[in-house]
Amino acid sequence: MPYAKHEFFFLRDHKMQDEELHESIIAGGDQVKARKVADKVAKRLGLTDEEIEALNPKE
């Protein structure tokens, strides 16, 4: 393998960039569904509903 291990990027001005690539996937995702999974895990880890809510970005 001739290259270093880097997944999903492009080169611009000598610099590996990935923000544009990932942002479109994140923006197109079902964020409500994904967050439900994360919230369930957070609750299992001991976070209160108030703490979970406090972490959520403003809609």
Binding site: A4, L11, D18, G29, L45
Partner: protein
Amino acid sequence: MPGGTEFFYEDENGEKQDDWLHEEILAGGDDDAMREISKDIARKVGLSEEQIAALFKPRATKTKAYVKRDEDDYIQDPKTGLMQGRKPGGGATAPSEKPAAGKSKKGKAKIDDFKKADIRIDPEIEGDEDKKLSFEKRWNEAVGEAPEDFKRQFLGGMPGSMRISYNERPDAMHISGYLKDKDGRDIAEYSRDIDLDDKHAYSAYFKVKEGVRGGGIGKKLLAGNVEMYQKMGLDRVRVSANIDVGGYAWARYGYVPTPSGWDSLKSGYLKGRLANLERRLTGASSEPAARRAGVETYTPDEWAVISDDDQERIYEAWARSTRDDFIESEVQSWHDNGGSTDDAKNEMAHQFDGNDRWAKVAMNEWRDEETAIAQIPFSNEQILSAVNIKYEGDGEGRNDPEIEWDDTKLEKPPGFDPSQLHLPGIEKPYYPSLLTEEMRGEIEAKLVKAFNNEAESRAPDMEPPSHLSEYVDEYQGDYWQGMEDRERFRWAERNGELPEYEIEVDASSEEPPEPEPQKEMELAKPAEMTALEALKKLVASDDPKAIWKIADSKYGKEMLLNTSWPGVINFSDKETMNRFNAYVHSKD
């Protein structure tokens, strides 16, 4: 002394034969002088004019044997060993007996199915019968998909090239290639490793060409890969979450740090980021303050007020952090500008010894197309042994190789018996001329084309030369000088490299300085303190899935951008797959 025994040879049964001797001479075709000499010889040995004329006709059907040559069957005269073209109909590679790509007989994939699916198999496998059988067996056991279907699904339905190599030890497959646009241009390069024994895959490398809208193709490739991994019965896929956004984004998609990766992430990046966040929210730094009890400090808020020593320290940290990027960029430029193709051509020319597979395939193709010539007077091996390849590199891989001929290797056609050939009073035939200028021209064209194609094919796997990294320090210095102060400051801030300075107290002042009113105003609101406490709990957790809530939080980017951690998707974990599918299988 027996009569009529000049110009003959004895075959394997001890019988005198002379037909191929005449035919080779006749096959010289465009060499009139040689033709006349040949006819004279034929007359001297007792052939009638009709027989001589017959010798100039295309060779009639004779007893022929089929011999295996590379992956194709070719016709070979049993007496002379001369190759006479591909076996008509039937045979191992005859189209009528070949299954359609991906629909091999008995449902088992064969090497030829990969070719039909335009999948390139490691030449080491193709050239070794044992390795070929081992690969086919392992493929059918572990993958069980027709190559054509595999490629389509693995690439998420996108057009592209694919190369596969396989190592029995450690039972691992490497899959790489390029995704293409509708015009066949490369738009992205990918590389995946599959450990069949440990049932996991690694998304090693995926680079999108600048200017390509890559989000869509990234999602399709990821989805296609994972679907195929699941069909293959793999347990998980790994990724190295890094670069700018990767450490944040892969967590959004459901990737989870490995246990050791999570420990490292927590004690490194997340601990520092949490301290920075707390300092920002509360207006005070907990850790430095604890270390420096009683000492007021402040963090610079612009590049200009950072000391020269700290600016130098930040530059060194930036240079270390971005060195891989610059090397990658140099490697990329080397590939894009043809340097890897040039190196591949140099290496191929240097290593050429006539046994090179690409050259043998080219010769077989030439022989297939050479229908006008009834008999080609030399075997492929003889012709290739007479070929020398020279390549003068231009650094960009654009030059063609030069083909040179060593005619001393063509002085003994197959079956040639030097003791029987010389006729008194007749000039010895010059056998190399049996390979006519026209034939040589055709062979050269075939070899040049095959050489160039093979070099292009090898280029992606060429090792970049070590000198590429020699100038990286210089490039980085130039790049840093070209950055604006605010960009340098932003990098230092985002990467925890900003210094802290003690607030100097005026010794002449009797009163300690009053706290700045602004600081009082910046104290965190209750909701932010709640969020901070929640983050602390998550960062303290032993469960790597805690990273999901961190990533989803309003501080997700602040905590995870520019981090680096080994991530994994476990296909049997329902929570993981729900989260993965929420992004990768969503309709956008």
